[in-house]
Amino acid sequence: MSSVAQKRGFGATLWDWLTTVDHKKIGILYLLGGGFFFIVGGIEAMIIRLQLLTPNNDLVSAGIFNQMITMHGTTMIFLAAMPILIGFMNAIMPLQIGARDVAFPFLNSLGFWMFMFGGIFLNLSWFFGQVPDAGWTSYASLALVSEGHGVDFYAIGLQIAGGGTLMGGINFLVTIINMRAPGMTYMRMPLFTWTTFVASAMILFAFPPLTVGLFLLTFERMFGGNFFDHTMGGNTIIWEHIFWIFGHPEVYILILPAFGIFSEIFSIFSRKRLFGYSAMVFATVLIGFLGFMVWAHHMFTVGLGPTANAIFSVATMAIAIPTGVKIFNWLLTMWGGSIKITTPMLWALGFIPTFVMGGVTGVMLGTAPLDYQLHDTYFVVAHFHYVIVGGTVFGILAGLHLYWPKMFGTLLNEMLGKVTFWFFFIGFHLTFLIQHWLGFWGMPRRVFTYMDGQGWNSSNLISTVGALFMAIGITVLVYNIIVTSVKNVRVANDPWGDGRTLEWAIESPPLYYNFAQTPLVRGLDTVYIEKMEGNASGLTPAEPVQDIHMPNGSFIPFMMSLGLFIAGFGAMYRAEESWGLPVLIFGLLWTFIAMAMRSLKDDLGYYVKKDEILRDMKRKGGQK
């Protein structure tokens, strides 16, 4: 494979993207896929808000509204936020630890395609007119009686996408465990790598319960199982537990990588090493662990009994402590630093007050007896949008601006970036601050409309207007991306000028083998250390220039995922259509054969020759 730039036909480019196992490209694919679903979920959110604009509104029907909230929640969490974060992990984390690739490039690609096909499967429900409508939580009693194939789309689509995520998680874990450059000890890893590690570990332990839950739901709805149907001895509470055993860790899977991105940003744009690094690491791990011990706080009103409620309540509150440690460490990172307010930093600065507000309302919800009042009201909606949008989405948008040059080699326009921020930030608070009071005033969530005369009208109006502001912000962002890509002004290794970690010491975007020579890491913020000691390149090689082993691209991941996608339809129509069962078997066989091809044909990769690397080094003038 030659790196000499040459014009390639569309077909060849497409084939390259379909078969790529390069973590940087897969990162971009995740970003594109996740970005697409973010817009879809955002449009669904806008429809929700427009429906709630006035009392007794009939923009959409009750049934469609329930489909909207379900798809909005599901899309945003599984198909937008998580994939985009995984995209950043893919694109950045290997660079941060000085690796040439991830541990399992093939699995990485498979993970992406499973996510993509799962997401497409889920969203095809719109075209079938049978859309999931039991909420993103799909509580069993309602999910069981939901008519049509809506909930089946949910169960099977998430099953496929979830499998992909699990693979991604294992892949990142092994990458971090085994592929760190010499000298990159655990306690020298950048915080984004650490949060990737903990979030991946959480994926590893949280997704199997989801797999089981969805499996039970699928079998209950389509194959005669009786897990939740109480007339057959089943129990709906089992679903709630299984869902939240997954669901609560899931929200920390969403927030931790964002924490990682913010840690990088605060440190870069304050020109200061992260304050209390080891405490930050410890807090991350602790949040990860505690995250598994609090799931029942979503079930305080289920009637689990006072002892269970009290235990889970106190455990929930405990999470405030490590999270607080993080907040204060970020503040102290800025304190005494040299703060430059760029777009990424602006998002980070917006994040602190927003997330703290969302976090403390979380603790209020964690107060079980108070949650009896607040549960399933707009207060909860306000809480989780404050943490999810104010934490995760702000983190994504911050990361997008921060890492755009590293991923695409060009800087997003700063002016437009700030315009996006202010529209989104103001719109956000307009939308969701008032919802806390809507909750206090007795407005339940998931209502498709509300009667006049309950005192909720103007607040809902304000909320909808705020959402429009957010949409403007996102539109500006899209415009920004298009304009920047068209102009395509190339940037150097470290366009922000204050990069501290390894990814900023190599080209933007990096060559396909990342590092010509594996770097030697001499401490936390190794590039900063090198530069302070006068090594302008920021890198000290740990090995001579030599041949580099690289994996081959493969089309098999795409095919395997396609097989599962086909099997999904077969499973869904098994009971009512004669073609259902054959298609199910066909799809599974397809996947199996693709997989067998992978294991029967040895794929040992190839070598990048030393000459080529030397040539690149001379031409790029990059690493010396």
Binding site: A103, G224, F227, I238
Partner: protein, 208 residues
């Protein structure tokens, strides 16, 4: 990596399953996967425990009445023994004795097959009694838990068959050593799960 690189017992590394970076990745990755499997089975166990003996009104099956311990005991012995035979296979893997390793793996596979056959017999027997999958929460949870384990056994059998077949002419190298090794990890893990199924589902079920 060179597949044709020939080793002798003297040059064969002590830990062939993690002698290269790729191998180490697979090795660690597979252990992590088993960590995830642990909680997968835990969720199934939990569901089973919550639903055991539960059925529609008038439901007559109970763990005490249903299970046939002697059969399950034989199954347990088969699977336990297959665990030992796969340890033998790994012993020969480390000794660079390909023939013997293959032999022990084949024995392992046959024991696994025997287990699976008995399990299928058991299921068919229960179904004949009227204890069908869709007959109650208890039956659904039971078949799902034990069936998921059985499915894992079946996957293991297909896996090892393919491995043996694919490598039958090639002998050991550092590329396939990891594959054999991870298979044996998988197989032991299945056995671990079975120990719990035997204890929690069957033995404790019979006690009630």
């Amino acid at each position: 990596m060179d597949l044709n690189k020939k080793f002798t017992p003297e040059t064969w590394p002590d830990h062939p399953e993690r002698a290269t970076l790729e191998a180490k990745n697979k090795f660690v990755g597979f252990w992590l996967f088993l960590g995830g499997e642990t909680i997968l089975f835990a969720t199934l166990f939990a569901t089973y425990l919550a639903l055991k003996n539960k059925g529609p009104s008038g439901f007559e099956f109970t763990t005490q009445g249903l299970f046939e311990l002697p059969l399950v005991f034989v199954m347990t012995l088969l699977l336990l023994t297959s665990s030992l035979t796969s340890v033998y296979a790994m012993y020969h893997l480390r000794n660079y004795d390909f023939k013997k390793m293959q032999l022990w793996l084949v024995i392992t596979a046959f024991l696994g097959l025997g287990f699976l056959a008995l399990e299928m017999y058991e299921f068919v027997h229960y179904v004949k009694l009227g204890f069908t999958y869709d007959n109650s929460a208890f039956s659904s949870a039971f078949y799902t838990l034990v069936g998921t384990h059985g499915f894992h056994v079946a996957v293991g059998l297909v896996w090892i068959t393919l491995l043996i077949y694919r490598n039958s002419k090639r002998g050991l190298n550092l590329y396939n050593a990891t594959k054999f090794y991870t298979f044996s990890l998988y197989w032991h893990f299945i056995d671990v799960v079975w120990v719990f199924i035997f204890t929690v589902v069957y033995l404790m079920g019979v006690i009630g």
